[in-house]
Symmetry: C2
Subunit: 355 residues, 2 copies
């Protein structure tokens, strides 16, 4: 299969023979694109799994560069860091651009619905194939944070600590509304399109909407105000159009629809019981991080997660940049994660190494 | 010309021979659709002008029904209430659906840019034609509130009091971004479309985006949460789709583009001097109303207006419903306006009727 955007040459691909989805659909020969940094130790317990957001890829050292390095949150001298492209995406993992085994054309809009749990189950197959016994930390923001919560719930015995960031235990009506408005383009989801003429305008429009939700009023005011560009338009208009053009050069329209639906379907309570009870059942130490200017996943929602997850620490990332601060403020976020990992290690030592 | 949506049979139309726009374009035989309630007194000073928002019409007694009535904010026994459809709209006033004098087809996307000041100048021609000498109050929310501010600045000697509600002295980058995302549909603004096949999907998508911005997270959570409809979709999705369908049945796509650009162009400082100085020059008593859950025009912006306009009173409308609260919470808003009008009248009496 081809990827929509550039994939690092360091990316490897594992083929998983079979994956049963929550919808009942069984996918065969599922490819999962991944990268690793550092090496697995002999106890196979130094792995850290990084989960990416909506349009992310396995190249975590690119989109979360500030977190990587000696003495930082993700230290390849200590950690075996793993990041894989999620199911339904277009950076090397099976998704709408892939061709169904034995079929002549890509799945396109017929790619099945994917839940966050499906995404995590495929990651689990990868992690096991890599020989990992325990995950010292699973972390991620936004859609990545949803995967983090599901990891804690699906594979509790394998996960030592979690860091869900700027995310949600169940996608709110507010967030579903934002998703639905982005999917409103009619050339978008309701049929096949010529791969030579994909619904790029719809994808660009979706990105423009999304970019507003990812930032904040203060962020846009400080950066653009009412500044006008050379063509007489407002600079903020040109900025949004540029963001739209950038995404269509690197992402697939059907993958965008699949993964926004994945996020909308997210609800840790589904099939498990009361939402609050399910979160209260999480056993790992957790670092819950909220961004004080986040429009999509407001800090109240993060505070609720922290209140419900018993062993959690809550940290606010102060930033004017809205939801995207979890990517933009990598250095500050990294410090919180370093502190958290240190505290987790200390509490383990004081518990007599009884893990 | 035909209107896109239903127009009350009570609507009358005035033809203004000529209107010179800020862009330099001169429109001829400009029609302005309007309604009135009550009668003009002999001093011709009991007129109240109601200014409508983006997709509003002259039917103020329909969209602001709670404000009308004996003893209420707009009392036809006391007031001569006037409301006109704005220039560039599609409820009877000249706009993209109108045919240029002598031309064969409607303006469509060639309708000229309209500023808030252009809108107000046409209203001024109407108000003068109706024999009005003074406006006891000019009020409106959102785009209507922008008109209110321009009334105070363009015709200071004619306006006795103003009530700008959930609005802005200059459209923010944040609001321009929201507008631009709504205009992102490619079938939308860049050419002629078959009147039999207008870009309805684009207009519906725009409305879906707008509806998110008009409400709030709390409002959508309380009403929909993660409730699922009979077809397996989320109720909030169906709600947004319904809002999209409703608008395309009553509004013109080009008028939507024209009027969102009108709002984006709004800046009371343009051509007048420093923004703060211009607002400080407003002489009328003003009631500035903000909605505490407004995503688009946050209360900080309303508080700033109130701080800058010397004779202003600030009131917060407490509501979970976001920007749209200025329409939804008509009863509470009406009370604030009644109090304000009473205070204005009292201060006039104590000043010895020296107006």
């Amino acid at each position: 299969m081809k990827a929509a955007g550039p994939v690092s040459p360091a990316t490897r691909v594992l083929t998983v023979p079979e994956l049963r989805l929550d919808s009942g659909t069984v996918l065969r020969d599922v490819e999962v694109a991944y990268r690793t940094w550092g090496g697995l130790n002999s106890a196979a317990d130094n792995a850290v799994l990084v989960c990416h957001a909506l349009t992310g890829s396995a190249d975590a050292d690119s989109w979360w560069a500030d977190l990587f390095g000696s003495g930082r949150a993700l230290d390849p001298h200590r950690d075996f860091v793993i990041c894989s492209n999620v199911l339904g995406s277009c950076y090397g993992t099976t998704g709408p651009l892939s061709t169904r085994p034995g079929a002549a054309r890509p799945y396109g809009p017929e790619f099945p619905d994917v839940t966050v749990r499906d995404v995590v189950r495929l990651q689990h197959a990868l992690v096991r194939a890599l020989g990992v016994r325990r995950l010292a930390l699973v972390l991620g923001g936004s859609l990545g944070g949803m995967q983090v919560l599901e990891w804690a719930l699906l594979y509790p015995a394998m996960v030592d600590a979690i860091a869900p960031i700027a995310t949600s235990g169940r996608h709110s009506a507010w967030c579903i509304g934002w998703s639905e408005a982005q999917r409103a383009d009619p050339n978008w989801n309701d049929g096949w399109f010529d791969p030579q003429a994909p619904p790029l305008a719809g994808l660009a429009a979706a990105r423009m909407i999304a970019m507003i939700s990812y930032r904040s009023r203060a962020s846009l005011e400080a950066r653009f105000g009412r500044a006008v560009d050379g063509r007489g338009g407002f600079e903020v208009e040109g900025y949004l159009q540029h963001q739209g053009r950038k995404l269509i050069a690197r992402f697939d329209a059907n993958a965008y629809v699949v993964l926004t639906r994945t996020m909308d379907s997210h609800d840790v309570g589904a099939g498990r019981g009361a939402y609050e009870t399910v979160l209260r059942g999480i056993r790992q130490p957790a670092l819950v991080v909220g961004v004080d200017s986040d429009v999509l996943y407001p800090i109240e929602e993060q505070a609720e997660l922290a209140r419900l997850i018993p062993g959690s620490t809550y940290a606010t990332l102060r930033s004017p940049h809205g939801h995207d601060a979890f990517l933009i403020e990598g250095a500050a976020l990294g410090e919180r994660i370093v502190d958290f990992r240190r505290a987790v290690a200390a509490s383990r030592l004081s518990a007599g190494g009884a893990a």
